[in-house]
């Protein structure tokens, strides 16, 4: 029974997300809306972690399982990959490095500025 109550909260929020997504004038996946809704419910203590944690931890721990069918569907797109395989891999790797460095230095700089400001206040 408790398991179904947990499923109830998570899945009902997903359904709400899907419905809202239909009516929004811009592309926003229903699942992301459900994520935001659930986070707000947790923040406002409308839902306690204990009410959803068994189901959520199972899903979070087995994401790899959930993506198996979408990964298998790649065989329907072999023609797409044939001609651009190397560009595809290069773009994936290069953008990962760029994103890593941009984020790391932005955070470093922000923390540096914040600590300077904090230091002045204390002085």
């Amino acid at each position: 029974m408790n398991f179904f109550k947990q499923v109830f909260w998570v899945f009902v929020l997903c359904c709400v997300g899907e419905v809202v997504s239909i009516f929004l004038p811009f592309p926003m996946p229903g699942s992301v809306l459900a994520l935001i809704l659930l986070f707000l419910c947790l923040l406002s203590k409308k839902i306690r972690p204990a009410q959803i944690d068994t189901v959520c931890d199972f899903l979070l721990g087995n994401m790899a399982f959930i993506f198996i069918p979408s990964t298998v569907s790649i065989i329907a797109y072999i023609d797409v990959f044939k001609n651009i395989l190397w560009q595809f891999i290069f773009i994936c790797i290069a953008t990962t490095v760029i994103t890593f460095f941009a984020t790391a230095y932005a955070v470093k700089l922000t923390m540096h500025i914040l600590s300077k400001k904090g230091g002045n206040k204390n002085a």
């Binding site: 996946p29 069918p69 230095y105």
Partner: protein
């Protein structure tokens, strides 16, 4: 006979479960990012489909049950973010700045490189969400007019590279701050990178996990304007 059996939903579903268990066993044995249970399972299934000439549609009748869990799995990210609420409160500004910069740099670099290589709009749309977690990336890809399986492949290549390379990237960038390192890993290589970040350190792991959820949301919001 074979067609009748494989078109029953229980076939595709069971095939997913069996190959996932095998994937997990292989991962336990080798414990290396390239030994990713999802990729091992997918290769096994593709092999079986090709050898026995089973149509993809038959497999997907059961596969659809598994894919249905994508939305609740995305929502579940809320719980993992909520568990880090103290770290979020303490580092709110660096986290927000890091995630916004991470998302913008990913989007711009992907679009520029795709243009440079003359990549079609459809594939560009499939690549745009490739730095965020698969759960959000595939949905966004579809909404942008991309192809979900191409996105899954791009997300996997990105994550595996990030998990392998992030310790070296930390060294080269001379980042000696745990929050900065964790955000950089999470923003650039999502949940797969986070698995490495957890090995590097507790703060790195937590912050990387926050970046996965937050970058996903920010990417979806910014993609509205693409």
């Amino acid at each position: 006979m074979l067609d009748q059996f494989t078109s029953a939903p229980i076939f595709g579903f069971t095939l997913c479960v069996v190959s996932y268990i095998i994937g997990l066993k292989v991962k336990q044995k080798f414990n290396y990012p390239i030994a990713n249970p999802m990729i091992i399972a997918a290769i096994l299934i593709i092999g079986i489909l090709l050898i026995f000439k089973i149509p993809l549609e038959n497999f997907m009748r059961g596969g659809a049950f598994v894919s249905m869990l994508l939305a609740p799995a995305t929502a579940a990210l809320a719980l993992s973010m909520y568990r880090q609420i103290e770290i979020i409160k303490k580092n709110l500004i660096p986290i927000l700045v890091g995630c916004v910069v991470g998302v913008v740099s990913a989007l711009v670099s992907i679009i520029v490189l795709c243009k440079l290589f003359g990549i079609s709009d459809e594939i560009t749309a499939s690549l745009i969400p490739k730095s965020i977690t698969t759960a959000i990336a595939t949905q966004l890809s579809i909404k942008l007019g991309g192809m979900a399986p191409v996105t899954v492949a791009a997300v996997a290549v990105t994550g595996i590279f990030g998990a392998v390379a992030s310790p070296y990237l930390i060294r080269w960038s001379r980042i000696n701050n745990s929050v900065a390192a964790g955000l950089a890993i999470g923003a650039s290589s999502h949940a797969l990178g986070t698995s490495k970040a957890i090995e590097i350190g507790e703060v790195e792991g937590s912050v990387s996990g926050i970046a996965v959820g937050l970058c996903g949301i920010i990417t979806v919001i910014l993609a509205i304007f693409l």
